[in-house]
Amino acid sequence: MMDPCFINGIASISAQPTTNPTSFLEEIISYHQPIFKAKDPDYKQYISPATMRRMSKAVKMGVTAATMALEASATSIPDAIITGTGMGCKQDSERFLENILHNDEEFLTPTPFIQSTHNTVGGQIALGLGCKAYNITYVQGSVSFELAAMDAQLILSEEPSKHILVGGIDEVAKNSIVLHTYDEQIKDTDAVDVMNLLNTKTIGSVSSEGATFMVLGSKKTEKSLAKIIDIHTISKATPDIIQEQIETFIIRQGMTLQDIDTVILGNNGDINFDHYYTSLQTSIFSDMEQLCYKHLIGEYPVASGFGFWLASKIFTLNKVPSVLKVNQIKAKKHINILLYNQYLGKDHSIVLLQKC
């Protein structure tokens, strides 16, 4: 069994209006193109205009979602800042790279380079808060967010009194994202009905951006939204092995499949890889309430962090927006929610969250 780990505050910026703490996907934005951006909250409420001018989208989203999560958990300065990002600060990386290539390594300015490192968001949050504590950034495709949360769990087992800020950030960058239409990651089309993404039966997915931050602690507080029971990641596996690993994972918690009320899955409409989910949906998950979300917020490496946000909302509001539902089963209660996500058959994550 894992040491106790509670989500004491969470915030998510995504392509949907998800930053209003009182609403839960009542209003939905439909997208019709394969690459779309996050719905911006009013960043000015969180970042001074002078500071914001130099910030890329990733930094703006990250700093804002971090501030929201800290406020929600009533934490002023966390005892560690752990970020995850699949692609890092892609806009500044792209800008610096293109300047190098187009100008034959001349006439360069340092700012985009300085802001291109993967740990820029974590560094900027630390700088803004004056937080000198443990600070680290995980960059492992679609498990980047989960690896960050696992490190936080490890810290809480070492030092239970700590409060850890954990977050995931990924941004869309204009040109490098388009390359993913060449290698079958993004659907090669100008028009796609994103709401219908999960039924497209074509190659590739759609791409977007966002940030999810949460504050974790070992003690339940009045702000607690959910308990993280366990997280498991697998670099590479076949669907059969994934099914075995999920079954082993549930047994490891002293539970059976019947104890799982709802599964939240990372289906992204890529016909080449969605069978990782559908094989589970038609077997061990067939009697469970099944929810999906990438037809709302798109695919990006830390999109799976949105699953943590969804589960926290479901536990606290005790309702499930119908737009998430992909089967007819309605869970009688929401105590245990299992999350499973993968990308291109790699970087799989299995997460168990519990009502608290």
Partner: protein
């Protein structure tokens, strides 16, 4: 003092050698690996000095036995060579016998590949298999797939402290019983991206770098990969493994001063060193040698030196220290692992490798690095790694 986490294998490739033995030979014969750029295409070839591995990607891929259609970036090739040596050194034949993890640090991952093909990618083009090299995690996965590690695989990217953080995470995971065995380290290849990046910051030297020298002009970028195998003591006992050394202390702190510059009081470095001593349950006087970050930039060496004086005191009280970046150059995300291996070689051989090119002490403090190859009984080494984003990490190794 706790016993620490056992290190049972090491592997390294850098500009001073393709293996641990070659690196040790170069260190003990005081032959550096700093030269002009010869392999990488860059207009700055004749302006800077670098620690370049003089082997083509084709040659590295051949050594690894990769097919012509492989999608390894140079960063992945270098990393795979070092990681392979480390697991062979640890006598591991099956990467999945125990709960085995792979944690790799990298700064820009496959940027060497991205910058080569970026403008030529097109639909159905030959090179589209390299598009994923944009993800730092793809580099790590190329290596973990090559090694056959399919479980816990992770990339840490905290700029120049990445590999130190990978070693720290591995040690913590073994200590907590999350993994039985973990391969930890880092890899970075030279790229136009980093050469021009550090170039625009005006911190690249056009001469051999001179860490802790009053007139230091900046760093020499380097490339390299280095990995350590950490194993739980149960495996060590069961398989009667030879222990090369132990990781006993670790800490990570943030300077929270500036995105790229270090603070003048070295607060982040001070916190990292003092917290690592706490984790090791040691006093400053227990440290026999410091392998400093010592990049030879004006800012780093000042900040690190000040932090050392805050922990240890003046020159008389500070342990013998040197930066080995005069040998290898600054290998960015790999530096923490490369210097961990230098530290382990120091422990094994009771030898301190010199701080090259030093002439004149800095005026801000009394610290003077060791400039000669020195034979001395060493039980404990402290190694520093600092990076952009304020990331400061310290590791402590013992026999």
């Amino acid at each position: 003092m706790h016993k620490g986490i056992a290190i049972t294998g090491i592997g390294i490739i850098s500009s001073i050698g393709n293996t641990v033995d070659e690196n040790f030979d170069a260190l003990q014969s005081v032959s550096h690996g700093i030269s002009r750029v010869e392999l990488l295409e860059t207009r700055h070839k004749d302006e800077i000095m670098v620690g370049e591995i003089k082997r083509s990607n084709k040659d590295l891929a051949y050594e690894l036995g990769l097919k012509a259609t492989h999608s390894f970036s140079r960063t992945a090739l270098i990393g795979a060579i070092a990681a392979k040596e480390a697991i062979n050194n640890a006598g591991i034949t099956n990467a999945n016998t125990y709960r085995t993890g792979f944690i790799s640090g990298t700064s820009v991952g496959g940027m060497d590949t991205t910058e080569k093909y970026y403008l030529t990618y097109k639909k159905n083009g030959d090179n589209i298999r390299f598009i994923q090299a944009q993800h730092a995690g793809f580099t790590t996965q190329s290596i973990s797939d090559y090694l056959g590690c399919n479980g816990y695989v992770s990339t840490i990217s905290t700029a120049c402290s990445s590999a130190a953080n990978a070693i720290m995470l591995g040690a913590r995971m073994i200590k907590a019983g999350k993994l039985d065995r973990v391969i930890v380290g880092g890899t970075d290849a030279l790229s136009k991206f980093t050469i021009n990046g550090f170039g625009t910051l005006m911190i690249l030297s056009n001469e051999m770098c001179t860490p802790f020298d009053k007139n230091r002009k900046g760093l020499n970028l380097g490339e390299g990969g280095a990995y350590l195998v950490l194993e739980h003591d149960d495996i060590v006992a069961k398989e009667k493994k030879k222990v090369l050394g132990r990781v006993v202390g670790w800490a990570n702190a943030n300077d929270a001063f500036h995105q790229t510059a270090s603070s003048s009081d070295g607060e982040g470095a001070y916190l990292a060193m003092s917290n690592a001593l706490k984790v090791a349950n040691m006093n400053p006087t227990d440290i026999d040698y410091i392998n400093a970050h010592g990049t030879a930039t004006p800012n780093n060496d000042l900040s690190e030196g000040i932090a050392m004086t805050r922990i240890f005191g003046d020159h008389q009280q500070t342990p013998i220290f040197s930066s080995t970046k005069g040998f290898t150059g600054h290998t960015l995300a790999a530096a923490g692992a490369i210097e961990a291996i230098c530290s382990l070689l120091s422990l094994r051989e009771n030898l301190i490798f010199p701080n090259l090119n030093f002439k004149e002490p800095m005026t801000e403090f009394s610290l003077v690095p060791e400039t000669q190859l020195l034979s001395k009984k060493i039980k404990t080494v402290l190694s520093n790694s600092f990076g952009f984003g304020g990331n400061c990490s310290t590791l402590i190794f013992t026999r």
